[in-house]
C-alpha cells in the first residue's frame, strides 16, 4: 500500500495540545504533536492506553470528547484550520470528507435503525447523492467488503449481524461519501483472530481501491505493520518516534519502541510432563452442558495438574467460559462430572461445601467490573480470607498485608484505597490477591490480560507464574490470544463450537502436523512482518485454488 505522496499534505497538525478535565484542573492528554499526512497515505498511530491515540485521531476531525479541549496548536485539513472553523463547517466535513470507523461496531451502530438507513444517512444528509443512488452504492460497497448477501444485508438491524460483518459494514459506511481521510480507531481489537484477518484484508483492499488516506490507530504492532505506510509511536501524549513501517520494524531508535517490540518475549520454562499416576487437581470429565435444550458444550474433557497451566483456546462462542461456569458449579452440566483431587464435586455450587468452594477461585477479564467500587482494598481481599479461613483482627490484617506484598503492591500505600484509585493493571493484581486470599489449589483465569496493555499484561503473567511455583497452583487459562498461550501454557486445549478439537502438551499442539482448525488459528495471529498479511492471503488463495482443482 504505497501512498501517492503529493506536495501539499492533506492533513497537518502543528504543536497540537489537547487537555482533559480532571476534577477542577486541566491535564494534558496530547502534548504538542506534529503530524503530516498525504493523500492516499496510511499512518499508523501506536501506543498503550492513555497514549492519546484516539484523542489525536478524533482531533483530525476537529472533534474533542466532552470534557476535553484543544489548548494549542493547529489542525489543517486541506487548507481549512479545524481549530478555528465553525461547528457548522466542521459538520460538513465530518462524514463527508473525513470519516470515522470506531472500535466496537456493535456499539457504534444505532440499534434502532437498519444498516442501510445508517449507511444512506451520510450521503443523503450531506447532499452527496439521493437515497436511491446511495442504496445502490451501498450494495456495491458491501460486495467489495465481501459481506455475505450484499443485496439484503443492509436491511438487517445491527443485532442481526455478526461482529466481524458489522465492522466491515461500518467501513463501508465510512466510505459512503468517498472521504479523503478515514480514521480507523482500533477497528479489529474486539474481534477474534480469524475474523480480524478478513476485516484487515477488506479494509486494506478498499482503502487501496479508492486511494483514501487513513490514520490507523491500534495498540497491536503486528496489525499496524500490515496496514500502515508510516508509524508514529506515542507515549502519554508525547511522540516517541516516527518512521517508515519497514524502518521502524527493522531498526527502532528509541528504547520505549524497542520495549514494545520485545514485549512478547516472556516465556516460562516448560514443565516436565506429569507422572502417569499423578492425580489431577481438577479433572473435567465428558461434560455436556448448555442453556435450556441448547447444548453449548459437547463431551468436553481435560485434566489440570498441580503446578501446571492449561490454556483453553478458542474464538468467541467456542464454549471456553461456559466450561469455567460448569467447573465452578454455576452451570450444572447435563452430563459428565467434575472431579477435584479424586473427589467428585456436586454439580451445583449451592451443594458444594465451603471448603470445596474455597479450593477453586476465579480471576476475571474486567477487573473494573469484578471489584465492588464501594469497597476498600482491605475489604476486597479481607472478605474471602475472613469467610474461608476464619481470620479475624490482627491475623486478618497481617494476611491482607502479606497478600498485597505478594502481588507486589506496597501494603501501606494501597490497603485503604478504593478500586477507582487504581490503574487497570493494579486492579487486576487485586483480583489475583482476592483469589489467593482463599488459599485455593486451583485458579481459573478468564481472559485476565486481554483488557490490558502489553507491558502491563506481561507483568501480570510473570506474577501469575511466580505465584504458581510458590503455592503449587493449578491454572486454567482461558484466552483467545495465542501469544499469551505461547508464553504461559504447559498444556493447550483448543476448543471450537463447544467441542475439544485438539489437546496436549504445548510443544506438541504448536508443532506440525496441526489439526486444520488449530492451523487456521495459528496462522491468523498477525506477525511483525509487513508482508505477512499479503503472503498469508496469497497462500490461502493458492490453497483454495489447489483444493478446487
Amino acid at each position: 500500500m504505497t501512498g501517492t505522496a503529493s506536495d501539499t499534505p492533506l492533513l497537518t497538525m502543528h504543536g497540537l495540545s489537547i487537555e482533559g478535565r480532571a476534577e477542577d484542573s486541566w491535564t494534558g492528554i496530547v502534548n504538542g504533536i506534529d503530524l503530516e499526512l498525504h493523500r492516499g497515505e496510511v499512518l499508523g498511530l501506536i501506543g498503550e492506553s492513555g497514549a492519546g491515540k484516539s484523542t489525536l485521531g478524533l482531533a483530525a476531525m476537529g472533534f474533542t470528547r466532552d470534557g476535553c479541549r484543544i489548548s494549542g496548536g493547529e489542525i489543517v485539513f486541506d487548507g481549512i484550520d479545524l481549530t478555528t472553523a465553525s461547528e457548522a463547517k466542521k459538520r460538513h466535513l465530518r462524514g463527508a470528507r473525513i470519516a470515522y470507523v470506531a472500535q466496537s461496531a456493535a456499539a457504534s451502530f444505532n440499534p434502532a435503525h437498519k444498516l442501510m438507513d445508517q449507511y444512506c444517512e451520510g450521503p443523503v444528509q450531506h447532499g452527496v447523492m439521493g437515497r436511491a443512488e446511495a442504496r445502490k452504492d451501498a450494495v456495491d460497497l458491501y460486495r467489495r467488503m465481501q459481506l455475505p448477501d450484499p443485496e439484503n444485508i443492509g436491511f438487517r438491524y445491527p443485532h442481526q449481524v455478526s461482529g466481524g460483518q458489522l465492522q466491515r459494514a461500518m467501513t463501508a459506511m465510512a466510505m459512503s461519501c468517498r472521504p479523503d481521510l478515514i480514521i480507523f480507531d482500533e477497528p479489529t481489537t474486539a474481534l477474534d483472530v480469524t475474523t480480524q484477518i478478513e476485516v484487515l484484508a477488506a479494509i486494506r483492499k478498499i482503502v487501496d481501491e479508492f486511494d483514501t488516506a487513513a490514520i490507523y490507530i491500534t495498540h497491536d504492532l503486528a496489525v499496524v505493520a500490515q496496514m500502515a505506510d508510516r508509524i508514529k509511536v506515542l507515549l502519554k501524549g508525547d511522540e516517541v518516534e516516527e518512521a517508515d513501517t519497514r524502518t521502524m520494524l527493522a531498526a527502532p531508535k528509541e528504547d520505549y519502541t524497542r520495549s514494545l517490540w520485545a514485549v512478547r518475549s516472556h516465556a516460562r520454562a516448560q514443565q516436565p510432563p506429569v507422572a502417569g499416576d499423578a492425580v489431577p487437581v481438577v479433572s473435567v470429565q465428558n461434560i455436556t452442558a448448555g442453556y435450556g435444550t441448547l447444548n453449548v458444550l459437547e463431551n468436553v474433557g481435560f485434566d489440570i495438574h498441580a503446578r501446571r497451566t492449561v490454556a483453553v483456546v478458542g474464538e468467541s462462542g467456542s464454549g471456553k467460559s461456559t466450561t469455567a461456569r460448569v467447573i465452578t458449579g454455576l452451570l450444572p452440566p447435563h452430563q459428565g462430572r467434575i472431579v477435584f483431587e479424586g473427589e467428585v464435586l456436586p454439580p451445583d455450587y449451592r451443594r458444594r461445601s465451603r471448603d470445596q468452594l474455597r479450593q477453586a477461585q476465579m480471576i476475571y477479564q474486567m477487573a473494573d467490573t469484578a471489584l465492588n467500587p464501594k469497597l476498600r482494598i482491605r475489604e476486597v481481599i479481607g472478605r474471602p480470607a475472613q469467610m474461608y479461613l476464619g481470620l479475624r483482627g490482627k491475623a486478618l490484617e497481617a494476611r491482607i498485608r502479606d497478600l498485597l506484598s505478594l502481588i507486589e503492591l506496597e501494603p501501606d500505600a494501597y490497603i485503604d484505597r478504593l478500586p477507582s484509585e487504581l490503574s487497570g493493571g493494579q486492579k487486576q493484581r487485586i483480583g489475583i490477591a482476592r483469589a489467593l486470599a482463599a488459599e485455593p489449589r486451583f485458579i481459573i483465569c478468564d481472559e485476565v490480560t486481554s483488557a490490558l496493555d502489553q507491558l502491563v499484561a506481561e507483568g501480570i503473567l510473570k506474577l501469575l507464574d511466580k505465584l504458581q511455583s510458590e503455592f503449587d497452583l493449578a491454572y486454567m487459562f482461558i484466552t483467545h490470544d495465542l501469544a499469551t498461550v505461547k508464553a504461559i501454557a504447559d498444556e493447550v486445549v483448543v476448543m471450537k463450537e463447544g467441542r475439544v478439537i485438539e489437546q496436549g502438551p504445548k510443544p506438541q499442539v504448536f508443532a506440525p502436523p496441526h489439526d486444520p482448525y488449530t492451523e487456521l488459528l495459528l496462522s491468523s495471529v498477525p506477525e511483525m512482518d509487513p508482508d505477512w498479511l499479503t503472503d498469508l492471503l496469497q497462500d490461502r488463495a493458492d490453497a483454495e485454488r489447489c483444493a478446487r482443482q
Binding site: 472533534f63 459538520r91 466535513l93 465530518r94 451502530f109 444505532n110 451520510g122
Partner: protein, 350 residues
C-alpha cells in the same frame, strides 16, 4: 411478531384476573365502610323498620358473598324476597327472570345492574360520564404529550442552558402546587380577570365539539400543567442518558446536526421509558382528576365515584372502579407493547 401476540393474549388474561380481584377488593372495602345504602338513603328519617324494608327490597339483607355472586352473575339474580314474601331481585326487576324461571344477570352477562339511588341502569348512568372523562383525558393528553416531548427534546438539546433550567424549574413548580390551586389560579387569570374562558365546564351530551373544547379548556390546561413535568423530565433524562453512547458519538462524527442526533439517533432508543411514563400519566388523567372535576363542575367519572361511595351505591362504585382498573391495565399493556415494538432487538430476534 407472534411472540408479541402471545404476550398481548397473556397480559389480557392477567388483566381480566386483575379486574376480578379488584372487584372483590372494592366490594369488600365498601362493606367495611360504616353504614349501608339504606341508612345513607334515609338519613335522618331512618327508623329500624324502614331501613329493614329497604334492605329487604334491595336484597341488602343477604350475606355479602351472595350479593357479590349475584352481582357477578354466578348466582341467579332472584335471591331476595320483598315485604310481601314474593321473590324479587335484579333479574326479576329487569324483567329477565321470573320467580319460576331463574336467570343470571350479572357482570359476566354484561349487565352492570341498576344504581341503587336512582334506579337507572348503571350502563346508562356511566355512558355519558365515561365519555366526558375520556374526552377531558384525551384533550389534556393531546396538549400535554406533544408539549412535554417537545420540551424534553429541547431541554436535552440545550442541556444545562438557561432554557433548560427555566423549563425544568417551571415544570417542577407546576407539579408542586396542589391541583385545585393551579385550577383556581387559572380561573382567576383566564376566567375571572380576562373572561377569556368559562370557569364552569358543564358540558352536556348535546354540546357540540367546538363548544366542548372551549368549555373544557381550563380543566384540560390544569391537567396539562400537572402531568407535563413528569413526561418532560423523563424524556430529557432518557435522552441525555444515551448521549454518551458510542452510536451517538458516531452520529456526530458522521456530521449530523445536533437536533438530528437527538431526534433520529437518541430518541428512538429512549422510547421505552418515555412511553411508560406517558401511559402512567394517561391513566392518572382518567382516574385521578376528581379534584379538577369538582373545581370546574365537570360531569366526569371522578365526581360520580365520590358521590356513589358516599351513598354506598355499590353497583355504581363497582362499575367505576372496574373502569379505572381497566384503564390502568390497558394503558400499561399498550405501553409495554409499544416499548417492545420500538426495540428492533425484541421484535426481530436473531
Amino acid at each position: 411478531m407472534s411472540h408479541i401476540l402471545i404476550m398481548i393474549a397473556k397480559r389480557l388474561a392477567f388483566g381480566v384476573l386483575t379486574l376480578f380481584f379488584v372487584s372483590i377488593l372494592i366490594f369488600g372495602a365498601t362493606e367495611l365502610l360504616p353504614g349501608d345504602f339504606a341508612e345513607e338513603f334515609l338519613g335522618q328519617s331512618a327508623t329500624p323498620e324502614t331501613v329493614a324494608a329497604i334492605r329487604r327490597q334491595l336484597g341488602l339483607n343477604l350475606p355479602m358473598h351472595i350479593r357479590y355472586g349475584e352481582w357477578l352473575g354466578i348466582l341467579p339474580g332472584w335471591t331476595s324476597m320483598n315485604a310481601e314474601g314474593v321473590l324479587t331481585g335484579r333479574c326479576i326487576e329487569a324483567g329477565i327472570a321470573t320467580a319460576d324461571a331463574p336467570a343470571y344477570c350479572g357482570v359476566l352477562q354484561g349487565d352492570f345492574g341498576n344504581s341503587l339511588s336512582n334506579r337507572r341502569p348503571v350502563a346508562e348512568l356511566l355512558g355519558t360520564r365515561l365519555g366526558n372523562t375520556l374526552f377531558l383525558a384525551l384533550y389534556a393528553a393531546a396538549i400535554a404529550v406533544p408539549l412535554s416531548l417537545m420540551l424534553g427534546i429541547l431541554a436535552a438539546l440545550f442541556r444545562n442552558s438557561v432554557f433548560d433550567r427555566v423549563v425544568n424549574a417551571s415544570a417542577l413548580t407546576s407539579i408542586s402546587f396542589p391541583e385545585f390551586f393551579v385550577a383556581y389560579i387559572l380561573i382567576f387569570w383566564l376566567a375571572g380577570m380576562g373572561g377569556l374562558f368559562p370557569s364552569m365546564a358543564t358540558i352536556r351530551p348535546a354540546t357540540d365539539f367546538a363548544e366542548k373544547l372551549y368549555l373544557a379548556f381550563l380543566p384540560a390546561l390544569t391537567l396539562t400543567l400537572v402531568v407535563t413535568a413528569h413526561m418532560m423530565r423523563m424524556t430529557r433524562a432518557a435522552i441525555i442518558n444515551l448521549l454518551a453512547s458510542p452510536y451517538i458519538e458516531m452520529a456526530r462524527l458522521k456530521g449530523m446536526s445536533p437536533i438530528r442526533v437527538i431526534v433520529r439517533h437518541a430518541l428512538p432508543n429512549a422510547l421505552a421509558p418515555i412511553i411508560n411514563v406517558i401511559a402512567l400519566n394517561l391513566a392518572y388523567l382518567i382516574t385521578g382528576v376528581v379534584v379538577v372535576e369538582v373545581v370546574f363542575v365537570y360531569p366526569g367519572l371522578g365526581q360520580l365515584m365520590v358521590d356513589s361511595v358516599a351513598a354506598r351505591d355499590m353497583p355504581v362504585v363497582q362499575a367505576v372502579a372496574l373502569i379505572f382498573a381497566a384503564a390502568y391495565v390497558l394503558l400499561n399493556l399498550t405501553a409495554d407493547v409499544l416499548a417492545t415494538l420500538s426495540n428492533p432487538r425484541l421484535v426481530k430476534r436473531g
